[in-house]
């Protein structure tokens, strides 16, 4: 039972009656009268049981973009309903204006729209629909909350999209149109064309030149149809926040790694390579085979949306098994996991040889700039001890990176913002050398 603001007003109106007839009896009579009206209104208020609630899924949006929740309210009974409806969402869904007043004649339906603007990645869920059904005097109402499931999927923002055009331009330079190519084992013969000044004299095809009056050069195109496997680590090491200040500042390593994976996937798919994706910690949490898909970034975002770091150690046996499950063909395996000495030594190192035997392995790590800052600050005793610990940690990292390097794994270690372009550049370098 709910009362409206009219009830206290009605009670205050009793002051007039009390002034006219000042006695305790007037007060009691007035209270009784108001209670009678409120009770009658409550009895006359139609039950919200005859309300049909139906939600249209708001679908998928990129983090920070607006969405809309459409809730259909149907009056299945014959009486007119005067409703107050709250379409509640979890706070990070950013629902604004989610309280609706609607007068619904019998048999009609109405769509209530609530604007959403998610500000957290993942599946953001509806919390419940609360319906208030007012009586004819609008004094009292019946209230009930219904569970109408629904969720809006908020995709990773793909901030590094801005780096894509410049990397695509570099990719085109690799292409045969510019004859400046390095002849390597993996590059593929494209065509013959007339020599123009500036072309590398080493690429002149003498045999073909002999048959024509002009000097002819061979052109090459970068290798195509290679495989790229992205392995995203969602274990405890991905939960650490980097960058920013304060407890809530910065972002988890996982989000930075996602950004890097998205840029690489977009670039690789444009370069004609096939991209596979697997994410997990103790078990595989997401897997995507995207052979030849054009909108690989969007599909990747979709499958990454609901990934959250878990506080467990990664099981690299499982993840390596998932990589092998994509096929035996040689691939570029990108491990998106921080160079965390203990985690790498105990979890990753034992399974690396099986991966490096078949594939080219790159480890992309989100570095924490805070660690270097900690090592540099030496003003007070506390800071010096912290600096010693940080130096120790940096040394262990360096050592771990060395070990990985010796096992044939290339380590790309960069800050959260610089990791996506650094990884993309490394991919382009490999492609230029035909090492995929």
């Amino acid at each position: 039972m709910v009362i409206s603001g009219r009830v206290p007003l009605l009670l205050l109106l009793g002051v007039v009656a009390v002034v006219l007839r000042p006695s305790a009896g007037t007060v009691v009579l007035w209270l009784l009268a108001v209670a009678l009206f409120v009770g009658a209104d409550l009895l006359l208020a139609p039950s919200s049981g005859s309300v049909g609630l139906h939600r249209r899924p708001p679908g998928t949006v990129r983090l920070g973009d607006p969405a809309e929740s459409a809730l259909t309210v149907a009056n299945d009974g014959g009486r007119t309903l005067r409703l107050e409806v709250r379409d509640a969402w979890q706070p990070t869904a950013g629902a604004t204006g989610n309280r609706h007043r609607v007068s619904l004649p019998g048999g009609e339906r109405r769509v209530l729209r609530t604007a959403l603007r998610p500000w957290r990645r993942g599946d953001l869920r509806a919390f419940g629909v609360t319906v208030r059904s007012w009586g004819p005097l609008h004094l009292a109402a019946k209230q009930r909350t219904y569970d109408v499931p629904g969720s809006v999927r908020s995709l990773p923002p793909f901030e590094s999209r801005k780096h894509l055009p410049s990397r695509l331009a570099q990719l085109r330079e690799l292409d045969g149109r510019a004859a400046v190519r390095i002849r390597g084992a993996g590059t593929e013969f494209d065509s013959l064309r007339e020599y123009v000044r500036g072309d590398d004299v080493r690429s002149i095809d003498w045999r073909a030149s002999a048959r024509t009056p002009h000097v002819v050069v061979r052109t090459w195109q970068p290798e195509r149809d290679r495989r790229v496997v992205l392995v995203l680590d969602t274990s405890r090491t991905a939960a650490g926040r980097v960058g920013g200040t304060g407890d809530q500042g910065g972002m988890p390593r996982l989000d930075a790694a996602m950004d890097a994976a998205l840029l690489l996937a977009a670039l690789a798919s444009r370069a004609g390579d096939r991209v596979d994706f697997v994410a997990g910690d103790r078990r595989v949490r997401a897997r995507l085979r995207a052979a030849g898909a054009r909108d690989i970034a969007a599909r990747l975002q979709e499958s990454m949306a609901d990934l959250e770091p878990t506080i467990v150690e990664a099981d690299w046996d499982t993840l390596a098994g998932a990589v092998q499950g994509f096929g035996k063909q040689r691939a570029l395996v990108v491990l998106l996991t921080p160079v965390e000495p203990s985690a790498v030594q105990q979890g990753l190192l034992p399974v690396l040889p099986t991966l490096t035997r078949h594939h080219r392995v790159v480890l992309a790590s989100v570095r924490d700039p805070e660690l270097n800052r900690l090592a540099d600050e030496r003003g007070t005793v506390d800071e010096v001890y912290d600096a010693a610990a940080a130096e120790q940690e940096l040394r262990r990292r360096e050592w771990t990176a060395d070990v990985l390097h010796r096992l044939g794994v290339h380590v790309v270690d960069a800050d959260a913002e610089r990791l996506p372009p650094a990884l993309a550049d490394h991919y382009l370098a490999l492609k230029a050398q035909g090492l995929l």
Binding site: V2, I3, S4, G5, V7, P8, L9, L11, L12, G14, V15, V18, V19, P22, S23, V27, W30, L31, E84, A88, Q90, P91, R99, F127, G128, T130, R132, Q143, T145, A239, G240, R241, V242, D247, Q248, R253, E308, P309, I311, D368, E370, L371, L374, A375, R378, G379, T380, D382, V384, Y385, D386, A387, A388, A389, A390, E391, Q392, E393, R395, E398
Partner: protein, 388 residues
């Protein structure tokens, strides 16, 4: 701990004691000032207590100009038995007979119930009410109004005690009773009430200050010395019955209380209206927030707690050697002595000095301060090498 030996007796005073003594010596002046102030306060309180005990106007024990100690003394000297009564109970206990006068000064403190008790206790005795206010008058007699009277009046009346006497005060009050003495305007300053009650409207004439003015003394003595015994009653509000208190509520309009009740219920309804939520509070499943450097920081705190300077110093030196080796392009495998030689050569400084900073087996700083210094010197060295 039975083997613990007692500390050897020393002549040097305990540092705590020294500090306490110093405190006393430094603040001695303030200490004395404090004591003096306390004594002065106590004395003045005691002195003023004696003064203030009976400060009411026309109090028989008040020697001030507005008191009436003079009159009380003169009456006693004249052989009148003056009994001072300050509560209604004491008045009840006092022997009030037919040959008694009951004088009431400060009658503005007579509550209705006290007035009734006064009249009951006085019985047939003569009552003299000094300057009774209207609410006291209305308890005794209907339709008597006090009115302003002229300053000097003559006792123009049938009572030969006052006939021909002159009453002179600064302000007097007259009462419009049918009978009385000292007529002024429409009433009498000495008015005859019902029974043996008299209203005296010139209380000032009894005060120490004015009693000698005109024939005031004669009027007072004749009025009060008529009988052998005088009961001087000074009523107080303390004797009033509980339900006689006058509060703000008495003046409030009659609808105020029920209106307040209605407002109270309206407030409850308001709280109910605003307090009822439209559904539960929406909650957020919050992720775990971990700073990535948290483990490094806690390791640093652990070193600090253990005071492990050798380890911390070693780590800092090793990091500095590694960085310098990188910078001077000595390669990863460069040994400690190679790095020291290269740095000394690069900066043109003796190898021993560089070795004391960088070498793994160089002496470890003995204090936290030394460790901070070492860390800063290593940073400085790094900077110099980069610059040079």
């Amino acid at each position: 701990m039975t083997t613990t030996t007692a500390p050897p007796p020393t002549t040097a005073p305990d540092p705590g004691e020294v500090a306490t003594a110093g405190f006393w010596r430094r603040n001695r002046v303030w200490f004395y000032v404090g004591i003096a102030l306390a004594v002065a306060l106590a004395l003045s309180a005691r002195v003023s207590q004696g003064d203030q005990e009976f400060s009411a106007p026309l109090d028989p024990q008040n020697p001030d100009p507005d008191g009436a100690q003079a009159l009380a003394q003169v009456l006693e000297d004249e052989g009148v038995d003056v009994t001072i009564v300050r509560t209604a109970d004491a008045l009840h206990d006092a022997e009030v007979g037919r040959r008694t006068t009951v004088l009431v000064t400060g009658s503005d403190q007579l509550a209705p119930s006290t007035t009734r008790r006064l009249r009951d206790d006085a019985g047939s005795a003569e009552i003299v009410l000094v300057e009774p206010p209207p609410y006291v008058l209305s308890e005794i007699q209907d339709d008597v109004e006090p009115a302003h009277a002229s300053d000097e009046t003559t006792g123009d009346c049938a009572d030969d005690r006052f006939d021909g006497l002159e009453l002179a005060v600064d302000a007097a009050t007259g009462y419009d009773t049918p009978d009385g003495c000292f007529p002024s305007n429409d009433g009498f300053v000495l008015a005859q009430g019902p029974g043996a009650t008299t209203y005296f409207g010139a209380g000032e004439a009894l005060s120490n200050d004015q009693v000698l003015r005109g024939d005031n003394a004669a009027v007072a003595l004749r009025l009060l010395g008529g009988h052998d015994r005088l009961v001087w009653y000074l009523p107080t509000y303390d004797d009033a019955a509980d339900d006689e208190a006058v509060s703000l509520w008495t003046f409030a309009p009659s609808w105020l209380e029920p209106a307040l009740w209605l407002t109270f219920f309206a407030t409850i309804a308001l709280i109910w209206w605003r307090g009822r939520r439209l559904g539960r509070l929406a909650t957020e499943p919050l992720p775990v927030v971990v700073r990535a450097v948290e483990t490094t920081r806690s390791r640093g705190r652990m070193y600090r707690r253990a005071d492990d300077r050798p380890y911390a110093g070693g780590a800092l030196r090793a990091a500095a050697r590694r960085r310098l080796a990188d910078h001077l392009r000595l390669g990863r495998g460069a040994s400690e002595s190679e790095v020291i030689t290269a740095v000394a050569h690069h900066l043109g400084r003796p190898e021993e000095a560089i070795g004391a900073l960088l070498a793994h087996h160089a002496p470890v700083p003995g204090s936290d301060h030394g460790l901070v210094q070492l860390a800063q010197e290593l940073t400085q060295l790094d900077r110099e090498v980069r610059r040079g």
